[in-house]
């Protein structure tokens, strides 16, 4: 059986990939830093950055571990709910709110990871989807989430008591800093010995086991890391949108992150970022089309799977023989 990602073939020159990636990373950072002076709507970019971090966390699992989680929204949404609740009801400081949110989704990652990694492949996807639906129903009935209404009007407050998050420009740079930190952490992870083992599991799990690796430990660790980082994205989203709602835990959101990563390029470093900006733009500009957005998303899925499984960044990288 072929492996899931056609982007997994290594490049010819061993030192070139790192150079390409770092160069691209610097360009990306420069572009993002310049956003406030470009006249782009900062809330749109912030929203896209949260989605991008979420998708990068998801890509860590699918692109490098070969694990397709179809319930990843639950980590985004859990951190969102906990952070929003902590900020609004317990009136904690923003940094503590983020820590609590990330801790909650990490803990949930431990529990769901332990259950889900008991099966491989397609079953793993079905199990993560079913578990996310279980958590969704719990949130639907739990009083603190306020059901269909969600947690509205969450105060943004002052980060470390002096960074005023109610100022959109300040908030933008905080979101950007968190995104870059999360992105860098993922980049380091996939290029570490841990990442190499993860890739070997994706390519051939029985062989990795026969080499003496406890693959379940690696998969669980990747799952927890991914859940925690998805939680970080969810916590930041609360500061941007000032609310937490059921949409962020529903399976449609889980499908969306799959779409973002697939469109950008599974197993590419920058694919999820590109995908997130495209999907965020699509939602922004096509919002008036109502249900047709779903149809368009479905069509993108079908086209991606049938014609370009490498995704946008994967195709570009393949064409220019670069690593992106």
């Amino acid at each position: 059986m072929t492996t899931l990602t056609t982007n997994s073939i290594a490049n010819s020159k061993p030192t070139a990939p790192v150079r390409d990636e770092i160069r691209t990373f610097i360009i990306l950072t420069a572009l993002l830093v310049a956003v406030p002076i470009s006249g782009l709507y900062p809330f749109f970019v912030m929203n896209a950055l949260c989605l991008a971090l979420f998708a990068c966390a998801f890509n860590l699992l699918i692109g490098y571990g070969g694990l397709l989680s179809f319930g990843h929204a639950v980590f985004l949404g859990t951190a969102g709910y906990i952070t929003a609740h902590a900020l609004k009801v317990w009136t904690v400081s923003p940094e503590l709110g983020i820590v609590l949110g990330v801790a909650a989704s990490t803990a949930l990652g431990v529990v769901t990871g332990l259950v889900a990694i008991r099966r491989q492949g397609i079953y793993f996807s079905m199990i993560t989807l079913a578990l996310s639906q279980l958590v969704y129903f719990i949130y639907l009935e739990a009083p603190f989430t306020h059901g269909e209404d969600g947690i509205q009007g969450v105060p943004q407050g002052k980060l470390f008591a002096f960074i005023d998050l109610t100022n959109p420009i300040v908030l933008y740079y905080v979101v950007l800093a968190v995104f870059l930190a999360g992105f860098f952490l993922i980049y380091r992870s996939i290029n570490s010995p841990f990442g190499e083992v993860l890739k070997s599991i994706r390519e051939n799990e029985p062989r990795a086991i026969s080499l003496g690796y406890k693959t379940d430990h690696y998969k669980l660790l990747a799952f927890i890391l991914s859940a925690g980082l998805a939680g970080l994205a969810g916590a930041m989203k609360v500061f941007v949108a000032q609310n937490a709602s059921l949409t962020d835990v529903y399976w449609t959101m889980s499908g969306e992150v799959v779409l973002i990563t697939l469109l950008g390029g599974l197993g590419t470093v920058f694919g999820p970022v590109v995908g997130a900006f495209i999907i965020a733009a699509m939602q922004e500009y096509l919002a008036s089309f109502g249900q047709w957005v779903l149809v368009i998303q479905g069509t993108i899925f079908v086209i991606c799977v049938l014609t370009f499984r490498r995704g946008i960044v994967g195709e570009v990288a393949h064409y220019f023989k670069m690593s992106l």
Partner: protein, 287 residues
Amino acid sequence: MQALYAQLLVGLINGSFYALLSLGLAIIFGMLNIINFAHGALYMMGAFCAYFLLSVGGLSYWWALVLAPIVVGLFGILLERTMLQRLAGLDHLYGLLLTFGIALILQGVFQNYFGSSGLPYAIPDLLTGGVNLGFMYLPIYRGWVVIFSLAVCVATWFVIERTKFGAYLRAATENPTLVRAFGINVPRMIALTYGLGVGLAALAGVLSAPINQVRPLMGADLIIVVFAVVVIGGMGSIMGSIITGFTLGVIEGLTKYLYPEASNTVVFVLMVLVLLVKPTGLTGRAA
């Protein structure tokens, strides 16, 4: 006690749908190595088909019972020929992604034209009313759904386990290349299998139309429960899928009576328990 029996009946009905849908998923997975995420959307199309046949064509429920699975089955064959077929040899997960996309398209189109609210579909005259069984009042239509679904499940089991076509099918599931070498048209069989699995989903949709109303998203949440059912039962055995489907429906009904708050989640909780005790599922082989 009346309430208990009523909930058990509801559970049996849901169990019928779980059984019909998970049966179709299992057959399709066996042959195509694809988890058909579009199954819920095709179930919905079955119900809509019945609705159109009645409102536009004036054809009764009984016609729908025959025609809807054929129409949706043919549509499924078209999907298989034009798209799913191209995924042969690729990772299973691509099949999941492709059929997820198809489900989004189908549900989006129907939602766009029919909104999210339900369209009513009347119970056929012959099956209206109910009988008093002494210990409970049984609406005839609901009894019919359970018995008819059971009959269809057993018939499907018979076709696959006891007929020549079924033997070919099972052989092609094990080793398609070898079966092809015997001169059997395996690609056509794959398309027919997909049509059969999808037809079962459409049949479940027709059966559910008078009970649950006809809604574009009627299959969206249902399919996730059916995935859990499939994880619990495993996809290795046809009879296993049928029994697991009905049993979980009944357990869900029982939960509705004993502890209603958990009725939405009980199947998922059971899935977790089964995974902890027996990761391969109750009847499944290791995947």
